[in-house]
């Protein structure tokens, strides 16, 4: 299998000397293409920081992050922005959407940055919005959508540009358990259909059970890494 994500002794420390806190402490892991991985652990265990480092949103204190063979930990500025745009889809816990754009425009946004053809954009986004169950809501703005619908639009946006990896930081944290479970099931369906790599963080046991691989963090270190059926 092809390695899509690889971290080598990844460390993110805040503060110095006696006050130093290691949010991520020497994490080395490999995630292969098509995996559906949950990063779990208690609050403060380093889940969000690890996802930010993998996604190139933050700089590691030491160690390396390689995505599809590219060392993004060595990248910066425009190159890193372009890499994120073209290879990574993000779903955040909240504040996922641009308030002044409709659901369709939000989903199209990254493709617009990629300067994709309008016809291609419209067709792909329409198809994805149907798959995430937002048919008929394309022209609604975020304020006119429920929390679950927000996250579905975020999933649609993350998928639309056709990235290698989708990183989701506690995507269900602000949703009720049923809606959250539905969202993860939907992500899982896309994972199975498209073989896109999904990595998401959660501390919800119901959601964890849906992951094929469970990486558990504690104090910034991996304490277990199990594959489950």
């Amino acid at each position: 299998m092809e390695k899509v994500i690889e971290t080598q002794d990844l460390t993110k420390a805040y503060g110095k000397g006696n006050t130093e806190v290691r949010a991520v402490d020497g994490v080395s892991l490999v995630i292969e293409r098509g995996e559906f991985t949950a990063i779990v652990g208690p609050s403060g265990s380093g889940k969000t920081t690890l996802l930010q480092l993998i996604g190139g949103l933050d700089k590691a204190t030491s160690g390396k992050v390689l995505l599809a063979g590219t060392a993004i930990s060595d990248m910066s500025g425009r190159a890193l922005s372009d890499f994120r745009r073209d290879h990574i889809g993000f779903i955040f816990q909240a504040y996922n959407l641009i308030p002044v754009l409709t659901a369709q425009e939000n989903a199209e946004y990254v493709m617009l940055l990629q300067k994709r053809d309008k016809k291609e954009r419209r067709a792909r986004v329409q198809s994805i919005l149907e798959k995430v169950g937002l048919q008929g809501l394309e022209h609604r703005r975020p304020a006119q959508l429920s929390g679950g619908q927000h996250q579905r639009v975020a999933v649609a946006r993350a998928l639309a540009s056709g990235p290698d990896i989708i990183l989701a930081d506690e995507p269900t944290a602000n949703l009720d358990s049923t809606t959250g479970a539905d969202l993860v099931d939907m992500m899982k369906t896309f994972n199975e259909e498209s073989h896109m790599t999904f990595v998401f963080s959660t501390h919800d046991p119901k959601i964890m059970s849906r992951a094929k691989r469970l990486i558990t963090l504690e104090d910034g270190k991996i304490i277990s890494d199990v594959r489950q059926n």
Partner: protein, 408 residues
């Protein structure tokens, strides 16, 4: 397109704030347009009064007469020179003049007098002398039934010498040939008041002045007016080329009335500073609104950065948004302010006390509406909008996605 779409929607998103920001920009536009219109209008009016009073837009003299006037620095064959000047495109009218100091006698009264020889018809086409308040008829060049030349004198001279219409006036001076110039004249009219620029002048016809001073077909000055006063310098150059006489100097009114022109230019500069202060006040208000808006949307910019938007695109988004507010502000300021400015071009702002400018009553400050007075404020507002957007723009562009995520 994406930037424009986002900018328009973001403007509509906070309607009240956008309205107030636009209003302050509209006010800034109007204040600047008002200042420029009034300054240009009042100075345009003063320049017009000044140049049409006696200076003209261009003057010709012999040698350095302008700096060191002398009876002997004459324009030779003046009629030929005036003829050439009148062929230059843009010249509306040209008139020759003679200047000489003299002593004036009437009965047992004596006064100094400034003799001015004019061509009455050409002078009337060139300056407003014929339209000024006076007692009696404007100079025609005619003689009295007794064969004396009829003159028009200033009212201060008339008062000093106790002269009335029809009285005799004796002038004594020096002719250009070294002889003593003296002659008797008849007062045909009294012009202006005791404070006006004509107060001690004695206006003679060119013939009479040339005879009195033994000048032949010469003069000291040719005053020229044009239909394009703003192009006086270019016209002076054209006239100089046409007359092609190295003994003559051709100068625009800005050189002839150098002190007035410099004072006016300095005053205009101070008005520009006032306008910049107005724009600075507007800029602070707009900066506050734009900065507040960008701070509120920090998470949004972080999100945009996270999903691949370049910092320069975030920067451009804020600049475009602020510039659009500037455009709307200019349009609003233009639409709301134009009727008032147009009204001011007609009625002006009344002066509490009319001011005498060269014998002409200046009783209102008239505005001038032109591409400059309406266009320059647009540039000012747009430059202000751009400058104001720089700080929030840079600040927002530098937001890291992590900051946005932490804010969630």
């Amino acid at each position: 397109m994406l930037l424009l779409k986002l900018a328009i929607r973001n403007i509509l998103r906070q309607r009240r704030r956008s309205f107030l920001t636009t209003l302050s920009m509209a006010l800034g536009y109007f204040m600047a347009a008002f200042t420029f219109s009034v300054v240009e209008g009042s100075y345009g009016n003063i320049i017009d009064i000044f140049t049409r009073d006696h200076t003209g837009h261009v003057q010709i003299h012999a040698g350095d007469y302008l700096d060191r006037p002398s009876l002997y620095k004459q324009i030779r064959d003046v009629e030929s020179v005036v003829g050439k000047v009148q062929t230059v495109p843009g010249v509306l009218a040209a008139t020759p003049r003679i200047f000489a100091p003299s002593l004036a006698y009437a009965g047992d009264k004596t006064s100094i007098a400034s003799v001015v020889g004019i061509d009455p018809k050409r002078e009337a086409l060139t300056t407003t002398l014929s339209q000024k308040d006076r007692i009696g008829d404007y100079l025609t060049g005619a003689m009295s039934p007794d064969g004396y030349d009829i003159v028009m004198i200033g009212s201060a001279l008339a008062e000093t010498l106790k002269l009335k219409i029809g009285d005799e006036l004796v002038l004594i001076g020096q002719g250009v040939d070294g002889s003593i110039a003296n002659d008797i004249f008849i007062v045909g009219s009294i012009v202006g008041d005791k404070d006006s620029s004509e107060r001690i002048k004695v206006f003679l016809s060119m013939d009479a002045a040339q005879r009195y001073l033994s000048m032949g077909n010469t003069a000291h000055e040719i005053a020229i007016v044009t239909d394009s006063p703003d192009e006086a310098e270019e016209l002076a150059a054209s006239i100089e080329a046409e007359i092609a006489d190295a003994t003559l100097s051709v100068e625009p009114w800005q050189v002839v009335e150098e002190i007035f022109y410099n004072t006016m230019t300095a005053d205009k500069q101070s008005n520009k500073i006032s306008t910049l202060i107005i724009m600075a006040i507007v800029a602070i208000g707009v900066l506050n609104a734009v900065l507040m808006s960008s701070l509120e949307r920090a998470r949004e910019y972080g999100l945009l950065r996270a999903i691949g938007t370049q910092p320069r695109q975030v920067f451009a988004m804020i600049v475009v948004e602020t510039m659009m507010l500037g455009i709307i502000g200019c349009i609003a300021g233009f639409v709301l302010g134009l009727p008032l400015l147009l009204q001011l071009t007609e009625t002006g702002i009344p002066m509490p006390t009319p001011v005498d400018v060269g014998g002409m009553a200046f009783d209102a400050i008239l505005a001038e509406v032109s591409l400059t007075t309406l266009g320059l404020p647009v540039i000012l507002v747009m430059v202000t909008s751009f400058l104001v957007s720089l700080w929030p723009g840079f600040r927002s562009a530098r937001i890291t996605p992590t900051q946005a995520l932490q804010a969630v």
